[in-house]
Amino acid sequence: MKLRSTSERDYKEPAIVPLVNIVFLLLIFFMILGRITAPEALDVTPPFSTGGGQIDNQRDIVVLISADGRLALEDAEMEQDLLLSAVSKSLEEDPSARVRIKADSSLDAVTLIRLMELLKETGVKALLLLVERPQNE
C-alpha cells in the first residue's frame, strides 16, 4: 500500500531541474540578444536593405507612414497638416534635427516622395529612411 503510493508520486513529478536549466538558457539568450522596443502607433514593416548606416544616438524626429498612407509622429497618429506643424515646431527648438522616416515596404514610393517634399518645405535639412537588414545574410 505504502510502496504503491510512493511510486505513484515519483511518476507524477518528473525531474524539473533539466527543464529549468534550459528555460534559464533561453531566458539569458532572449535577454542578451533581443532588443526591447516600445510598440508603435502604426503597424509598419520597414523595407529590407543591404545598405544603410548604423543609427547613431542623435535624437531624431520619427515620422511613421503606413502602407495605406496614414501618418504618425513619434507615437501619435495624426493628420498631415498637424504633423507638419508639429515638425516645424520641433525644428524651431532644434533647427538641425533630422527626420527619420519609418515607411512601410509596400507603400507607394510616390506618396513617400510627396511627404519628403512637404517635410523639406517645412525646413527639414536631413531625412533618413529606416530600413531593416535581411536576416539570412
Binding site: 529549468v20 531566458l27 533581443g34 526591447i36 536593405s49 514610393a109 510616390v110 513617400l112 518645405e121
Partner: protein, 141 residues
C-alpha cells in the same frame, strides 16, 4: 491502526531524505517567475537590425543641373530604365559603375512611377549605393 512511534517516524524521514533529497527552498515558484520572464522577453524583444539610409529630394523648386543628371526610372511593372535604356536590377550596378568611369561623377535621379512599392525603390538605391554613388535624389513626375 496503531500510531507510529518516534523512532519509526525518524527512520521514515531520514529514509525519504536520502531517497529524494528535497531542497530547502522549493524550486517551483522560481520556475514560475523564470517562465514569466522568458515569455516577456520572447514577446517584447525583436531581433531585427535597423539601419538608416539618407534620402534626398530636390523638392519642387530645384530644376537646375538636372540636364547633367542620370535618370533611373522605375516602372510599375518592375522594369527599370537608365537614361531611357531598359535594364535589369542586376545590370544596374555594373552599368552605373561604367557610367561613372566614362562620364565622371554624376547626380543620380531615381524616379518611381505611381504605384511602385517602396521596397523596389530601396533595392535600386542599394544597388547605386553599392557602386559608391552618394548623390542620389528621389523625384516624382
Amino acid at each position: 491502526m496503531e500510531s507510529p512511534t518516534y523512532t519509526q517516524l525518524l527512520a521514515r524521514a531520514s529514509n525519504s531524505a536520502i531517497r529524494r533529497r528535497r531542497p530547502l527552498v522549493s524550486l517551483t515558484p522560481l520556475v514560475d517567475v523564470v517562465f514569466i520572464l522568458l515569455i516577456f522577453f520572447m514577446l517584447a524583444s525583436s531581433f531585427s537590425e535597423q539601419r538608416a539610409v539618407a534620402l534626398t529630394t530636390p523638392g519642387t523648386a530645384a530644376t537646375a543641373g538636372e540636364s547633367k543628371a542620370v535618370l533611373v526610372r522605375l516602372k510599375r511593372n518592375g522594369a527599370i530604365d537608365l537614361n531611357g535604356e531598359p535594364i535589369t536590377l542586376n545590370q544596374l550596378q555594373a552599368r552605373a559603375a561604367d557610367f561613372i568611369q566614362t562620364v565622371g561623377e554624376r547626380r543620380f535621379l531615381v524616379q518611381p512611377d505611381e504605384g511602385v512599392e517602396l521596397q523596389g525603390v530601396v533595392a535600386v538605391l542599394d544597388a547605386l549605393h553599392a557602386t559608391g554613388i552618394q548623390n542620389i535624389s528621389l523625384i516624382r513626375k
